[in-house]
Symmetry: C2
Subunit: 456 residues, 2 copies
């Protein structure tokens, strides 16, 4: 059957064919239903939402944007809200709560049963970028002494409320994590084997206060379906599942993309972000960088009269600045990504600098030689500027280029590492800021060399 369109849905409602709607919607995927609801007038969503079966309603609710969620909750009776919250997973509820105004949060917490409420408060207590904040508290624990078939009894009993049943966590009497066992291992083993015999004791885990990016990197690097989160006493307090890790990873890398482009990260997708919000995200860096360009401007102003007397030098300023900026951001982006993926840290700084020095020397040699050739063939011969572009000018430009490229590589590679070392965000150090710095360096070099070779 074809997917139902927003127009069809509204038409069916106008015709009062609610049973048909109920049937059609029940066959749809929650993500698609949330998308569908996003395309009809917001005030008409509630009646359709009420037609959804309980579980589908909860799954759909989680996928809606927060404005719509708030609108629905405001319209719900306490009974309806309780029925909804009852079906939600703890970590999804936390995500919803974080976007809601205080009065709605209060109502949601009041609707949750006591154990869920305490779980929610537990997760809310961890800082936003920690492993604790992205975990869920619904998972299956087993005892080492259980047999495989007893384990299945337990899974059947608690499984429907768990975010994943496929990885089960084996705990000792004092709740300490002693092993993991998968449903696959339990299924393929004979029924009398004990959990202790089947489990893996060498468990990969995260601490509640660990960085969330490191936590999800671990899930990816070890190819895990879920990662247990433990407290200081090695007691399991939650798990992070791979699908949540995927979301966090996407969020983190989108944040880095934004920061590298000098944009304050927003959580809404581009096409749904309002013009005003886009403006707010972009103007701070534009302003800051514009003001900081005063610095480069001042360098040029100081040299203005000399430039006027040797005007041919002006034409090479953009090339020098751009090539320096590009060299720097190549290095900085490489280093920023390596930091994010967990490949390097401040202790590697000398290794990184030595590497970049060599790459920079190789690059600058090629660029300087090519530029020398280009200036000779194109600028001097082809454009017939034999008089102005003499050997001194060519040397000044090419030497500046060489120096700028090497320095740009070193600055670009070291700033993110230094930022990380003093607990700043490495990504913020990327292209825009480095460009301003490299601009200044390349201009100072240019004018310094020009003073020596040409105007000296």
């Amino acid at each position: 059957m074809n997917k139902i369109t927003p127009e069809e849905l509204l038409q069916l409602a106008d015709d009062k064919k609610f049973l048909v709607i109920k049937e059609r919607l029940s066959e749809e995927n929650p993500i698609d239903i949330a998308g569908l609801f996003g395309e009809i007038p917001p005030e008409r969503v509630a009646p359709f939402f009420r037609l959804l079966p309980k579980e589908l309603a909860a799954d759909t609710f989680v996928e809606m944007d927060s404005d719509m969620q708030e609108k629905l909750i405001t319209g719900f009776s306490d009974y309806e809200l309780h029925a909804l919250v009852d079906e939600l997973y703890v970590d999804d509820t936390v995500d919803i709560i974080e976007e809601m105004p205080a009065n709605v949060v209060k109502r949601i917490l009041a609707s949750a049963d006591p154990s869920m409420r305490s779980d929610i408060n537990e997760i809310l207590k961890y800082p936003g970028n920690s492993a604790g904040s992205i975990m869920t508290t619904e998972y299956v624990t087993l005892k080492p002494t259980m047999t495989a078939s007893e384990a299945f009894d337990r899974i059947r009993q608690v499984g429907s409320d768990s975010e994943t049943i496929y990885t089960c966590y084996v705990t000792s009497k004092d709740k300490k994590l002693v092993g993991v066992v998968t449903v696959k291992e339990l299924l393929l083993a004979s029924k009398e084997k004990t959990v202790a015999e089947l489990m893996t004791e060498n468990v990969i885990f995260a601490y509640t206060d660990e960085d969330r990016e490191e936590t999800v990197n671990r899930i990816r690097d070890y190819g895990l379906m879920a990662l247990p989160v433990v407290d200081k006493e090695q007691r399991i307090v939650g798990i992070v599942t791979i699908d949540d890790a995927l979301d966090v990873l996407t969020e983190e890398s989108e944040e880095d993309f934004s920061k590298m482009a000098g944009v304050v990260p927003t959580e809404t997708p581009y096409i749904k972000t309002s013009v005003l919000d886009l403006w707010k995200a972009r103007i701070p860096w534009l302003l800051l960088l514009m003001i900081s360009a005063t610095f480069t401007g001042a360098i040029i102003s100081n040299f203005e009269n000399k430039l006027a007397s040797c005007a041919v030098l002006i034409g090479f300023i953009p090339m020098l600045m751009d090539t320096g900026g590009n060299s720097g951001s190549q290095a900085s982006v490489s280093v920023i990504r390596a930091i994010s993926l967990g490949g390097i840290s401040i202790k590697d700084i000398f290794r990184v600098l030595f590497k970049e020095l060599r790459v920079g020397l190789l690059c600058c040699a090629v660029l300087a030689v090519c530029n020398f050739g280009k200036m000779f063939l194109v600028d001097k011969l082809l454009m017939g500027r034999t008089e102005e572009i003499d050997i001194q000018v060519m040397l000044t430009v090419c030497l500046t280029l060489a120096v700028t490229v090497v320095i740009a590589k070193l600055v670009g590679a070291s700033l993110p590492l230094l930022a990380k070392a003093i607990k700043l965000d490495p990504a913020v150090m990327a292209s825009p800021l480095i460009t301003t710095l490299v601009d200044a360096i390349s201009l100072l070099t240019y004018f310094g060399l020009a003073s020596v070779f040409i105007l000296g």
Copy 2:
């Protein structure tokens, strides 16, 4: 027990304590063992590798880098190679094969049993960026008429060779995909229920020739553990699991990071990439952009004499170029990411342009006003350049700034969409290329306005 260190491992080998090594290694995680092997001299790895139990050996092999893999395979007897390949998953084998020289590929294929060999060839046949190329052919299929307990019998029978058993695919007699059912659903249901009763018929899937990025986006957006891949006749031919999706997603976004910084993407992590490879990845764009800056240089050269007669204008060139470049890359990165995440396509171009026009106008108003204020307060009053910085100069600079920012936003947003429309890579259109274009536009505007206001 603490993790074994490379030094300990070598010491134990020197002491000929092979049983201890075997025992210690068996407790380690394959990823950690691969890491350990990476830190000891390559020629000493093989004897340790032979001590690993069969399955752990295969899991470890998959995690090694391809140089090490090649070295090991070269040293293997045909019997050893067969034993290894037998334990590998089809998709991992394909990944390995893609990195090996032809003679090694031949040996691997010869070691695979006929059905695996045909599966490998099947996957190798799909283009590198398609869903078919990232799928695996090892999954569990069920018949709709099976009961839950019969389903478990089948899972037990074929499960150990499957990449995931948790999502099972229900096929009709002609191999067409008719539904999916999870082990969770089977476990929580009573044993007599049939698969047909338990399965979800509304299956989310991908076609073999679909783009791999779209495929993994679907896994993330729908929160799936695995996505079935079907051929044109809706017959299931493979699945993509979420852990492979996570790897592809990371690879794709790292590629975009590289391209946006004007770096040719490489597959090895930064710290492991040789200086020569880094140079090769970076020099093409640096050269291209340096040469293309000839264009901006030519614009300035044409205006050289006039600039010399009004030297104060030179000092604002870097600010205008940088602000234009930053505005453009803000827009382009936003649009590139939205394309990658599946949010927009060429049909949205007018919506995007209208949005960027408004954002650009807001940004340029603020920037122009602030810059006017800054020029008046800092450049004119504070630096005492009352004579040179008159109202004409201030107007020229601020108007150029305004025009540049708006044009940069429009160019930055439209180029990636146009690239996508003609099947080029949107990310390649990012900052470096756009910067060159925006530089030229801002300089032409600057000199045009200067001619009118100042030198007219």
